[in-house]
Amino acid sequence: MAEENKVILHGFWPSPFVKRVELALKIKGIPYDYVEEDLPNKSSLLLEYNPVYKKVPVLVHNGKPIAESIVILEYIDETWKNGPSLLPEDPYKRAEVRFWASFLQQQLLQRAILVVKSDGEAQEKAIEELFEKLKLLEERIMNIFPEGTASINQENMGLLDIVLISCFGYYKVLEEVLGFKVMDPEKTPLVFSWLTTLLEIPVVKEAIPSHEKEVLFIKYVRQNALNPTAV
């Protein structure tokens, strides 16, 4: 009886990909055990559960592992019917969620990471592209949320909200480390207000790590990328 529905999440506290899974589990009220992985020193369990990528997050449900954050989110949604749905019922709306989740991931998060890890001309190019893509998202938000984003709460938030939080929930950390605004209410007011509405939700607030801890981590990532030998 105790082994039924045993859920374990292998994670790494600053990972945006792990954060997505944590949020999904919390929103749906699914009890789980958490295993913090030391990434330079991965556990043999992790390597066994995710031999292809050797990465976190990995969700283990009744002994069966699932890897890749969006794949895990869809699995959670299909397996636990209690709590809010992470994806809408309507196939077209589901397609829109999947499309924009992929956009947030491939176009925005990847470029934000590049901005953190580069300097000089390379960074300038990455910044330009990041803002170009943010602008694209801003222009399309009324298609995604025809009723606006002000009424999003713990009971109706979904996969796309989770992905946005994981990508930019720590925007103040980025701004402190980089020295410029990433989420500007003047440039992208609709994206900004969507994000800040989400960050007020209690379950989200609780899941975001401390600002100071994140700043140290992002500084370390940047330092490491720019001066690989000086660690």
Binding site: I66, E68, I70, Y92, A95, F99
Partner: protein, 229 residues
């Protein structure tokens, strides 16, 4: 019955994924060939974010990105020919392998289209491609006939390029990676996949495809004169 239209491009494997899925499901659709050098207003209107094919239009509403389209087709026409397994864990595995292919796409693309000199199998890029194929064979396919089991499914469709288009890429580059001696199970899969009637009847002409692939490579390597040797 709402109208279904597919905006595609004849040599594109992504375009073919959608064709194969629609045909397997028995969904009638209108096909519109896009000239990618001269994109139609319709394409730009239906996919303003990426301006790419394939785009599926159903009842006037567009869906872009082939993996998103495949899942839309599965969600919309669930009662004929399931493309994904019933079991949630197996569905997660199917999605995982499709994502894996998408993630590693750049390895394939750069090894075949961005390197301007003929190289033997010692080339680092080709080594990575071979490694990717070995992982697929060992972990995704295993001893099954198809990725989907006894019948083809969404994973097979997603890797369909490997069964037919890849041969053209190999010939263009003068390499042989997918051979019965190096990848016996994956090679057998490729042969079996091409024989499935829906697939066999919906493949581009090989000679034309080869000409097209060569011209893509010429264009890409001309744009990247500093590509690695």
């Amino acid at each position: 019955m709402e109208e279904v239209t597919l905006l595609g491009f004849w040599p594109s494997p992504y375009s073919h994924r959608v064709i194969w899925a629609l045909k397997l499901k028995g969904v009638k659709y209108e096909y519109i060939e896009e000239d990618l050098g001269n994109k139609s207003d319709m394409l730009l209107q239906y996919n303003p974010v990426y301006k790419k094919i394939p785009v599926l239009v159903h009842g006037g509403r567009p869906i872009a990105e082939s993996f998103v389209i495949l899942q839309y087709i599965e969600d919309t026409w669930p009662h004929t020919y399931p493309l994904l397994p019933k079991n949630a864990h197996e569905r997660a595995l199917a999605r995982f392998w499709i994502k894996f292919g998408e993630d590693k796409g750049y390895i394939i693309f750069s090894a075949f289209f961005l390197v301007s000199e003929e190289k033997d199998l010692g080339d680092a890029g080709m080594k990575e491609v071979l490694e990717f194929l070995k992982i697929l064979e060992e972990h995704a396919l295993g001893d099954k006939k198809f990725f989907g089991g006894d019948k083809i499914g969404m994973v097979d469709i997603a890797y369909g390029w490997l069964s037919y288009f890849f041969k053209g890429m190999e010939e263009m580059r003068g390499v042989k990676l997918l051979e019965p001696s190096t990848l016996p199970r994956l090679h057998a899969w490729a042969e079996n996949f091409k024989q499935v009637s829906v697939i066999k009847d919906n493949l581009p002409d090989y000679t034309k495809l080869l000409v097209h692939l060569k011209s893509v490579r010429e264009k890409m390597t001309a744009q990247n004169p500093t590509s690695k040797k």
